[in-house]
Amino acid sequence: MNWTLALPETLLAVAGLVLLLVGVVPKRDMTFPVTMGTLGALLVGAVLVVATPDGMAFGNQFISDSFARFAKVLILLGAASGLMLALDWNERQGIARFEFPVLVLFSTIGMLVMVSASDLITLYVGLELLSLSLYVIAAFDRDNSRSAEAGLKYFVLGALASGLYLYGASLTYGFSGSTNFAAIGSAVSTTEGVSLGLVVGVTFVVAALAFKISAVPFHMWTPDVYEGAPTPVTAFFASAPKVAAVSLLVRVLADPFADLAEQWQGVIWLASMGSMLLGSFAAIRQQNIKRLMAYSSIGHIGYALMGLAVATDTGLRGVMLYMAIYLVMNAGVFAVLVSMRRQGKTLERVEDLAGLGRTDPGMAAAMTVFMFSMAGIPPLAGFFSKLYVFLAAVQEGFWVLATVGVLTSVVGAYYYLRIIKVMYFDSPAGALDPRPAAVSMVLAGAGLFNVLFFLFPAPVVAAAAAAVAALAG
């Protein structure tokens, strides 16, 4: 048994338990040391992830390949940036408790397990570890009714999704005779014709995962939870778990269910189309910037799914590249959102950014970069993420999807421009409170990545391609 393949997960789990003790035992507030410890653990985890060789472990239930490594690095990055944004915010809100970083850490372990799953049961264990941690941190601001509501909503709908998943997984087990991906894969490819039970099973599994990535028509929870949850929690929700769930969806569909592509392609096609349309049109009228970002994230998932609907290597590469760039853009945008605070009061409306171009030129410039990048305007990174999925769509003749995609990106550009307009064209509404150094670091890092990506796009693209190559093999 090759347990060393799961070394990063093991280390993070041990670290989580230790940090829990560190938080509980001393009499004084340990939030800061625990957060730093978590960040350190994530960093060490990332190093270990990169160093992990290929292979299977735990009776073929756990796989380590370049795909998992790519996704894991992104997840760790997303979790780390989420923590950096939360540290100061929680303190100022008076909700700084050491449980927060520990919960983030546990959810991260869940995500790492998810993307390394090569068995429906491993997948479920990872998914639940993630979800349970997320339910708690959505309601982390427990005296705030909106946060509590967000947590409850997320829990009820998340539980429903878990139920869907289990139902789909049991059907798959019943009709293929195994929960192991490889075994399911060979069962699918050897069966003559496609058994209806298996198709229903796949559909349920896809529906459950579509819930996690908030693809249309399973998106309803997203705006409410994004709006209600504390801002850094929203930042975390929108980054690492999205990457994990998308990677998972890619792995499940492209590995065991690859031979059922004709069946699930249509489902993904519809989800992609619906998400792009809803994400662009519904965001136009939003006044709350967190809600706006919720719809924007639905739209972005639509673009990413376009690559999955195409279901070729190029398409899947597009998906992974999209998620990588999306993660960075998103971290940058939320770094701005957590800085939106005036005289100690948090702000969430789009108008609250008015005149930021005068009061805080640096942050306004960074936000402008993120907005243009999200709108997919070259030479910023967001353009390349869209370019690669459109490329795949055109290559396989998905003309309708590609055309709808480019047209909705124009609609999307409208509301991204609106934010720039508020920042630069409107008169200032007063300066924001000074932002902490950690937030500035995230802001600067994400901004530079977006601006300079066009100089050296090849390595990131190659990494995504290598990740996807592992799936096909």
Binding site: G357, P379, V394, V406, S409, F425, P457
Partner: protein, 503 residues
Amino acid sequence: MNAAGFPLLSLLTFLPLAGVVAILCVRGDEATVASNARWTALWTSLIVFVLSLILWFQFDASVVEPQFVEQMNWLPDFGVNYHMGVDGISVLFVLLSTLLTPICILASWEAVQTRVREYMIAFLVLETMMVGMFCALDLIIFYVFFEGVLIPMFLIIGIWGGQRRVYAAFKFFLYTLLGSVLMLLAILALWYNAGSTDIAVLMQKAVPSSWQYWMFLAFFASFAVKVPMWPVHTWLPDAHVEAPTAGSVILAGVLLKMGGYGFLRFSIPLFPEASQFFAPMMFALSVVAVIYTSMVAFAQQDMKKLIAYSSVAHMGVVTVGLFTFNQQGISGAIFTMLAHGVVSGALFLCVGVVYDRLHTREIARYGGVAKVMPAYALVFMLFTMASVALPGTANFPGEFLVITGAWRSNGWVALGTGMGMILGAAYMLWLYRRVVFSRITRDEVRGLLDLSPRELAIFAPLIVLTLWMGIYPSSFTHVWEASVAALIERHEAALAVPRVAGL
């Protein structure tokens, strides 16, 4: 000839960004930052202009192939290379861009007093995008620069513009983006067809006839908005009126050329059959543009709007010329684009001069300016005459060649285009008469000061160019003659193949 190994084009393209970095490093109070930003931007753009002169002197007009070529791996798995080079068609557009940028910066010296640092950064970024776009020899690289222009231009109109600037900026951005994204799909389809987006490779690989029509329309969506052609020109008057003077100059001088350049560089060589097929449509839209927008120009009360509509008319002449597919027509179209870049840029500067003084662009608020601003009246007259294509000024050779070319392909088109010139003379002279001549009726006009030395310095190069282009046009036409001849030859060869195959 070619200074091999020295990346002149990359230097021209990215040097303005070095200026941006320098401006970002400036610290101090607002006045210091503003003055440093102005000087840094001016010097950067002047150095770029001087370097671009080397490009012109070193350029060998007898060579058809791109010169000063640079090639580098960029997106290897996608087959996209960073491929830059200029040929006879693009080299002068590079010069036009590098010439107009310092002029614009100088023109904004006093007019722009708020957020000077951001303003100068926007202009330098804009220069990078413009130069890069004209040098790009790969469609994806071209697209990156082509779209990248939107970012600084959106901010320039939106932040430093007039009263309805928000509306104008959004309209400009979304109109152009909508056209461009369709072109992006067509670019990807081209890549799928040929396995590369390198223009040289694409030229070798004919696009199947059945695709050509769709792809021509997709490129058309992008370039027609940019040119702009009737009926998708409506963003232009708004953008021009609301943009600050320098923004209008760049918009009219360079950005509109991106459409015409795109037709010539991509649509016609890549889709020869479709170009031939759609030529009547292009003629019809162009002639409508020439006559209709000339008549609309008559009704304008706002000087900038009037000149904006005249731009649409002039660009109509350009698109007529491009789709005649003969040496005179295309040569004339290129000449008209360059001349229009200089002349309409200068006209917007003329408007800017009086706008800076009275803060109104309404024609009726002026009158009798000649009495108090004689030098200005002279300069304005020169550019008015150039705009109506008086022989001896910049616009004449171009428009004459276009009409000659059009005559060879369709007499009615030539007639329509000629009508436009007559109407153009009428509204421009009328504008000139109302602003410059007639009696002074308003006290505020009486107090106007004539051109300052800075303003004279701005106009001087444009005056020289306008006369030079009018008096000795062949010093410009010879630059692109070989390239255009090769393009036409290729076009005819491409058309001959299917005909033979059809027999």
